[in-house]
């Protein structure tokens, strides 16, 4: 097909100049200036002093640790819950399962911070479970597990979507052969379905990991105090302390982490069967 295409019309690089210039001004130039800002020293010169002070500081290391811990925990739970739900939706047809998987698509377009807000009413100091179980003042919601819970509620569909697509391409005859050979349904799941869907599960999981590393709205709106993530640290340094160089150092590290995850994820996607 590509041969036919290149016979039809040649590529004209000229037209690519306009969008690339626009991207250069609106994206590459700002990111470049931010990177330069990370190496501004407190006295206004340039050097590594400020960069090293931030990187070596307890605040940054703590935030990095919290970010990675939250993201890994939430991603593991999303992958588990997403797999269970995708299997149930695909293999145990029930009324509304089709509508449900379309609803999941719409869910992906909604902002994440609303989940944080609604969990406040569910588990917060005022709220359903808060009212049932509370004698102690503060709920678990404003710490590590609260953030994980919110992220799992929001990001599970990102794992389910590629899984549901993978299940659609499964060869059902193969599953029937396995079960007629005496495998239990769970044996079939473990030995046939899981291996076949594993690439999609891993791809969904790495997207989930990237998005949870980058997550900001949930933690901001929840008003979490015990944990700080890298995006929260960037916000705090830039907006609350007007420390642009410090914020830029954190942002630069966060961007490096996210980009390496993202390109790993893209590489994984390329290996998926279409």
């Amino acid at each position: 097909m590509s041969a036919a295409r290149s016979a039809g019309a040649a590529w004209r690089p000229f037209w690519l100049i306009f969008p690339l210039v626009a991207l250069g001004v609106a994206l590459v130039y700002p990111l470049g200036l931010m990177a330069a800002e990370a190496f501004v020293t407190p006295d206004g010169g340039h050097g590594l002093a400020g960069f090293i002070a931030v990187i070596g500081g307890g605040l940054f290391l703590g935030a990095l640790q919290d970010t990675v811990r939250i993201a890994l925990t939430a991603t593991a739970l999303c992958m588990f819950l997403g797999f269970v739900l995708a299997v149930l939706i695909h293999f145990v047809p029930f009324v509304g399962a089709r509508a449900l998987s379309r609803l999941i698509d719409a869910y992906l377009a909604f902002p994440s911070f609303l989940i944080a807000l609604s969990l406040t009413f569910l588990y917060g100091n005022a709220g359903i479970f808060g009212a049932v179980g509370t004698s102690s003042g503060s709920s678990f919601l404003y710490g590590f597990w609260g953030v994980v819970l919110a992220e799992v509620s929001y990001y599970t569909p990102f794992v389910m979507r590629p899984l549901l697509a993978a299940f659609d391409t499964l060869d059902h005859a193969q599953l029937e052969v396995a079960s007629s050979l005496g495998e239990t349904p769970f044996g079939v799941l473990r030995r046939v379905v899981l291996p076949a869907a594993l690439p999609s599960l891993l791809a969904g999981g790495s997207l989930c990991l990237l998005l949870t590393i980058n997550e900001f709205g949930i933690i901001l709106v929840m008003g979490v105090k015990d944990v700080t993530t890298l995006p929260m640290l960037i916000y705090g340094k830039a907006i609350e302390q007007f420390d642009y160089p410090g914020a830029s150092v954190v942002a630069l590290c966060n961007v490096a982490l996210s980009l390496s995850l993202y390109f790993g994820y893209r590489r994984m996607l390329d290996r998926l069967p279409a």
Partner: protein
Amino acid sequence: MNGLSFSAGSRRWLAALAGMLVLGVFGLPLLMLLLASVAGRWNGVLPSHLTLEHLRGALAGDERLALWHSLATGAAATAFALIQGAWGAIAARRAPARVQRWVDAVFLVPIAIPSVSIGLALLVAFSRPPLLLNGTVSFVILTHVVLITAYAYLNAKAGLARLPPHFEEMAGSLGAPPHMVLVRVTLPLLLPHLLAAAALGFALSMGELGATIMLYPPRWVTAPVEVFALTDRGLIFSGAAVSIVLLACTFAALLLLDRRRPRA
């Protein structure tokens, strides 16, 4: 049939389990938000003193202004992002694979990195000459364009890959010049994908918080920023009401674009 032979009994159990899990994980939060938006007080298990006051408040004063700002920003940013994304995808379409990989990488960076750091980068870059934009409304719109262009590009690229293969070549071999092929054949065929991109971009822009909160001018508070400001001041029911109206606006826009989409 489907390949897992559960017994009828366990099948029923599993279906109930699936329904409950889905409702519990995805349905319950939305229901909470709805309840909170009409709650007068919430001291017990369920809210009491139901009232429409918060919802009415969400449609008046600063809240209404914030919603308008979000709608305007979303519409403008979506339009620019569609042009930029579709243009990029079409222009890079016949490029050698190596060039395409680079164009992809540059276009998709905003998906990969945290929106807060994009906000910071724009703040650092456009608060100084030669391009002084900080404090203007167009700065917010530019920020949203930067964030959602990647999705427009992705959708347009996916659409181009699925175009019926020979229409454009036929138009070309019948003597249509390239710009005519583009306007009369390529773009109309691409339209469903562009509308899908518009719907997604608009929804994302309506809900954008991370970058906007870094750089919004005080006279252009968007709805998500307003929700944060309200809840931060402890006005959680008003925050819930604004969120409900925000969700309703987003959903209405999605439906509108979906109905406009010609069925394939």
